[in-house]
Amino acid sequence: MIQQAIVGVIVVAALAWVLRPTLRRALRRRQVAAGKAPGPCGSDSCNCGS
């Protein structure tokens, strides 16, 4: 039982790592939508440069 739990945690962690870029992008898009983070350069919510 403990073994299965450990294996489960490791597998989920591995899945999270592989999907990391996708997850990060989704999170960022959400923050941009909520106005909590600046958007990519050139977009309406961009605040880089002058």
């Binding site: 073994q3 294996v7 597998v11 962690a13 790592w17 592989v18 880089c48």
Partner: protein, 635 residues
């Protein structure tokens, strides 16, 4: 501590290195920052932004940016645009540099002085570092540093990037400049006005004349000119001998990758086998042990084993680059590449693609013309990247007998060479179709400096190779490790029902996917285990080897990587093996390459075209190979 000044308040002062290509700028960057640098994950020439930091003798921390080499701020390629925009402080998301350090090859000052005169117009604090000062002195070039500084109106410091004490003067000057900057900022003195504008041809001539005037005043020409470069070029650029030498170098490189690496690879393999055996003995049977031995150790082990080959390949590429051979290779190849519609400069990105298509595609930024660049990007993944080596090695070792041919060459090495040649030829063919049939039109000029040959600096080479090896190991330790765990999971669950007769993997999720895709790949001779291995191979080509290991180890109950070769030898026909090799020459089996193409072309269209054309070629090539091999009775 001095009084806190605005410059120091806003963080470490930022310094940018600018200079002509081949001036030893990167060597100076390495000498200044040592290991404190953030190099992009990718290998290749200076195309990506490199940042580092160092501490001056007075204890100030300075950030350094290594900018792409250029002859003028008048940018002609995306690469040079980066340099221009950072220098002008227009680069989005990049802080303006507080200090510009123009790096010059002291043995070749003419063009860089013109650049200095242009940089002066920007109005930022500027410093000229005369790099390779020792070589200049050795050749009898006498540079009156004070006179040069006075005429240019810019501080001038001699440096020797490859020697430890060679940057002491530069650091002292940087310390002084930073104090000046801080004082100026504290007193609210604004920087000089930026009067730079794109120079016209007449203005270029005028700055040339000014540079010539200064050289006449401050530099005495060499008493012992560089005869080595002339003598070497007489052979290396000879129309016939030069091409033969180039081919020999490439051939030697691939033989070395295949044979020299063997002892080290055997050692690593034995190490992982011993580790798996130890875990098997130390742990009770169960799914956790299966995960560790079949998933993690077998999976990661089958990737790390290729480290020696990757190190050897990168050592060759970096040595040739530092030696100054790459532009010569471009010169020799220009007509041949031009025949395929590619630019001679495409040779360097394509050669880097032998290591990995990602740095290769990024290196295409040195090609100014958009269509030339796109054509190069589209064929770069056809070059045999190092991630294919594991797959090729595995299949060749399992199916090609290890016997000498003509007494000198190993048959296995020859097959490997053939696979590389197939990649190159198909790349030229695809480029020809794109550039000569689809896009006919203007031809980009071929115009590049042939730098003097230099003995590569051992420390620099070791550092560059280490950076690449580290990136590879990091990938093996993170992404590949994660994928291996997932594959193990997919091929272990759900387990076989009670009283099952087939191997356990037949009942797993991976088995189901493999069986489901089987009809599609049956015509090209693939079995479902191969299909399963190809799915994770999309993440990184080399993962397919580890996946095959997992699929067969789990399915057949075998526990070590060394047995994989024997397993494949028994369960695949020669026709299937050859078909698999043909597939791997063309298949778009690398999601990161597609992602880089998307980024570099800034459109979804090109990665999609790349994926479709490569997949089509792969399928057709495998189909043809399988059927020809089968008709020869190798099925």
């Amino acid at each position: 501590m001095n009084a806190v000044t605005p410059v120091l308040q806003t963080g470490a002062p930022r310094m940018a290195l600018v200079g002509n290509p081949n001036c030893g700028k990167t060597a100076l960057f390495n000498a200044l920052t040592g290991s404190r640098q953030k190099v992009a994950n990718y290998a290749g020439v200076t195309v990506e932004r490199k940042e580092g930091s160092f501490t001056t003798p007075e204890g100030r921390r300075v950030q350094v940016l290594d900018l792409p080499g250029t002859y003028s701020l008048r940018a002609r390629s995306p690469d040079e645009e980066v340099t221009r925009d950072v220098v002008l402080g227009r680069f989005k998301g990049e802080a303006e540099p507080d200090l510009l350090v123009c790096v010059a090859d002291a043995t070749n000052l003419r063009l860089v002085l013109r650049l200095v005169l242009e940089l002066k117009q920007v109005g930022r604090p500027l410093l000229l570092a005369l790099n390779m000062f020792d070589i200049a002195k050795h050749r009898g070039i006498e540079i009156d540093v004070d006179r040069l500084a006075a005429e240019l109106g810019v501080p001038v410091v001699p440096t020797v990037a490859v020697r430890k004490a060679g940057t002491v003067d530069l650091l002292k000057h940087i310390d002084a400049q930073v104090v000046d900057l801080a004082l100026a900022a504290a007193q609210g003195v604004s920087q000089g006005a930026n009067t730079w504008h794109e120079p016209s041809a007449e203005e270029v001539r005028a700055t040339h004349r000014e540079a010539d005037r200064i050289i006449k005043l401050a530099v005495r020409p060499p008493t012992k000119p560089d005869t080595w470069t002339t003598r070497l070029d007489a052979v290396l650029l000879n129309p016939v001998a030069g091409l033969l030498i180039l081919l020999t170098v490439l051939f030697f490189m691939f033989q070395a990758v295949f044979t020299w690496a063997q002892p080290a690879m055997d050692g690593i393999k034995a190490g992982f086998d011993a580790l798996a055996a130890w875990v098997n003995g130390a742990m009770p049977d169960g799914i956790l042990r299966s995960l560790i031995t079949d998933g993690i150790i077998a999976g990661v082990g089958s990737i790390v084993v290729f480290l020696p080959q990757i190190v050897i390949l990168f050592t060759f590429i970096i040595l040739l680059e530092d030696f100054g051979y790459m532009p010569r290779a471009a010169f020799l190849m220009d007509k041949i590449m031009g025949g395929a519609g590619l630019h001679g400069r495409a040779f360097i990105p394509l050669l880097s693609s032998f290591a990995c298509a990602i740095p290769g595609i990024m290196a295409t930024r040195v090609i100014d013309n958009r269509r030339d660049r796109l054509a190069t990007i589209m064929v770069a993944p056809l070059m045999t990247c190092s991630a294919r080596i594991p797959v090729y090695t595995l299949i060749i070792s399992a199916f090609v007998p290890d016997r000498p041919v003509a007494g000198v060459f190993a048959l296995q090495g020859l097959v490997m060479f053939g696979l590389y040649a197939a990649g190159i030829l198909s790349a030229l063919l695809v480029a020809f179709v794109m550039r000569r049939l689809v896009w006919r039109g203007t031809v980009e000029p071929f115009l590049m400096e042939l730098p003097a040959y230099k003995v590569p600096d051992a420390k620099n080479v070791v550092m560059s190779v280490w950076t690449r090896a580290k990136a590879f190991l990091q990938r093996a330790g993170t992404t590949i490790l994660s994928i291996m765990i997932l594959i193990w999971f997919l091929s272990s669950f759900p387990g076989a029902p009670e009283g099952a007769t087939e191997p356990a993997i037949d009942y797993s999720i991976a088995g189901m996917i493999g069986h489901w895709l089987q009809p599609l790949v049956a015509p090209i001779g693939f079995n479902w285990q191969m299909t399963v291995a190809l799915i994770p191979g999309m993440a990184a080509r080399e993962v397919a080897v580890a996946a095959l290991g997992t699929v067969y180890a789990v399915g057949g109950g075998e526990e070590n990587v060394t047995a994989l070769m024997d397993t494949l030898g028994h369960s695949w026909s020669l026709a299937t093996a050859l078909s698999f090799l043909a597939w791997y020459i063309f298949a778009p089996q690398c999601a990161s390459t597609l992602a880089v193409v998307r980024r570099e072309t800034n459109s979804l269209k090109w990665p999609v075209i790349m994926f479709v054309y490569m997949l089509t070629l792969a399928y057709l090539a495998s189909l043809a190979t399988y059927h020809v091999a089968a008709s020869l009775g190798w099925a």
